[in-house]
Homo-oligomer: 353 residues x 2
């Protein structure tokens, strides 16, 4: 019945479910995401639909999904009525896209229990179903999202063409409507200046390389998101298998780069980590971008076992909590950017010391 | 008789005499220097003289100065016979110019007891007499150097013209042959972006603004050397009075800039100091340039009483000991630049912790 109200305050007390310290190669393989673009037959795509039609779509999705017993612990939110700061938090938790912060009538979000899945309503497509989890878990995510998709399609009439497949607002999503992506932490490739040729190689293979926040976001903090660019001509499983293979190779490549750095330039590597710690533990002002970059170095340091008390768990938590929205909500009063940089520095110091 | 041999190893254990923590405004007014350019009548200027003539000049200066009883605790060195590393140390202690590191036949140095004065022999002029002391001490330095100059001129026949004054190799030194300079630490003017207009203003007043190592050296670590550009048309006392007045105004200007920063952007100022401390106390590799820049911030922090145990005395010592020559000599084995950066980082950490 989806009667749950999404408790944003409560979200803040929880770590994001897609960052974990206890998965395989947690220092490099950050998270895996699968999303499906789906549309309901008989309605204009959200970007072309007028306000009333968007509202109708929203209502129909709400009532239909509400009738699925398996989703009765999920929440559906009308984003239009949400304060911007709360949308910023949803964005930082990767539950909505940057575009959906500027929501219009009918913009919505469905969130599964403990953020196990999310569905953006009336973003570029009527539904953008997403499952995000830590580590390399594309196959498991695919099973889960496939089941969820089946549940939804049993109640909603998807726009589907027998030859082409799922119809989507943007031609780049047509067919499977599937985007599979893996977030990797690749400081080794960055420091050994291999990241540019590697990116070019991936692009030639039809894979996109993006930053922490996906499309349109620049890579910083050495976090790179690898995803398929085409959704047509391959089955879902083929797409996933292809990306998984590439990720396996990137993992080896990154490990090798770190090994070479450690063998040939240990001072340089330890200096890189250690001075990042020095700045994070002493700065009085920290922008989120600088903090992310320095935390990236600490992630390497944890991998190198340079710290006795700093854990990957703490680091993961910090990576989310220093984002502007989380930071503002964790603090009581309204902050201007400078106050925020000061509070961020205080928070980081608390975590580290 | 100048029988003393200059003990470079012993120099290294001594702080340089021109950096002190117990002079007035020690955080801003670093040191004062006066030097006189003098030449001996009847010889070509050093840059034009052949090797044998340069050697004759050297010998004559050595025997003449050796006959002055007041100089019998001084040492005279033939720079040509000195290892490069030791010349680098003399340079870092401001006893010789950068040019004199590449010494030729006849290049020499006279050093007074406890580095109280120095005379470069056969640099650009036959004699470059210098007195350097901490704080703003131009008048006292002038009295001292004037007395020393009188002693020397009583035994050496200076090239002198009754109308023009002292004759020098470069026309910019002709007349008094006097260069008075004050080294100031001006991070407040740098951080408030006033240093460029201030420099332009000083240039218009006929004053040169240079870096830590004088002519040809860039300003870094927020250290600026202010000196007179012309040596003609003003008496020595007039030159000194003019520079002293300017320095007094710069001192007020710098204090004011720091006060404004502290009032309007305290977080920014504390961040600037604190993160410099974070890097210096954590880095594993430090170039001398980066170290100087960060030490500059610590000097501000000491002024702001931000540190409980770090003193200006320690900081002054560190500023000299991190220079390449001192660093190499303090260490036992020969170091390549990377090893030096690593050892510098270790040394800085030892001083700070």
């Amino acid at each position: 019945m989806m009667k749950q109200k999404l408790d944003i305050k409560n979200l803040l007390t929880q770590p994001v479910p897609w960052l974990a310290h206890n998965v395989s190669n947690a220092g490099i393989l950050i998270s895996s995401r699968i999303r499906l673009a789906r549309n309901i037959s008989g309605f204009l795509f959200p970007l072309r639909a007028k306000a009333t039609e968007r509202q109708t779509i929203f209502d129909q999705i709400q009532s239909t999904l509400g009738s699925i017993p398996e989703l009765n612990k999920s929440s559906m939110i009308d984003l239009k009525s949400l304060p911007e700061i709360e949308k910023q938090i949803l964005f930082e938790r990767h539950l909505i896209s940057h575009e959906q912060i500027n929501s219009r009538i009918g913009s919505g979000l469905v969130v599964g229990e403990r953020e196990s899945f999310s569905i953006m309503v009336n973003e570029e497509d009527h539904l953008r179903i997403q499952i995000l989890s830590p580590g390399l878990e594309l196959n498991r995510n695919w099973s889960k999202i496939n089941r969820l998709d089946d549940l939804i399609s049993s109640t909603l009439n998807y726009a589907y063409d027998n030859t082409i497949g799922f119809l989507t607002s943007c031609p780049t999503n047509i067919g499977t409507g599937l985007r599979a992506s893996v977030m990797l932490h690749l400081p080794g490739l960055v420091l050994t200046e291999q990241i540019k040729p590697v990116t070019r190689g991936l692009n030639k293979m039809g894979l996109a390389v993006r930053g922490l926040f996906g499309e349109g976001s620049e890579a910083f903090g050495d976090l790179f998101q690898i995803s398929n660019q085409s959704t047509l001509g391959e089955s879902e499983k083929q797409i996933i298998a292809r990306i998984s293979r590439v990720v396996d190779r990137l993992l080896e490549h990154e490990k090798n780069a770190r090994y070479i750095l450690l063998e040939t330039k240990p001072d340089y590597l330890f200096d890189y980590v250690s001075r990042a710690y020095g700045v994070l533990s002493h700065a009085r002002l920290l922008s989120s971008e600088e903090a992310m970059k320095k935390l990236s170095a600490l992630r390497v340091g944890i991998d190198l076992k340079m710290f006795t008390s700093l854990t990957l768990e703490t680091l993961n938590r910090l990576m989310v909590d220093i984002q502007p929205g989380h930071l503002q909500k964790l603090y009581v009063k309204k902050m201007n950017p400078e106050r925020r940089d000061s509070y961020r520095a205080t928070l980081v110091k608390e975590y580290l010391c």
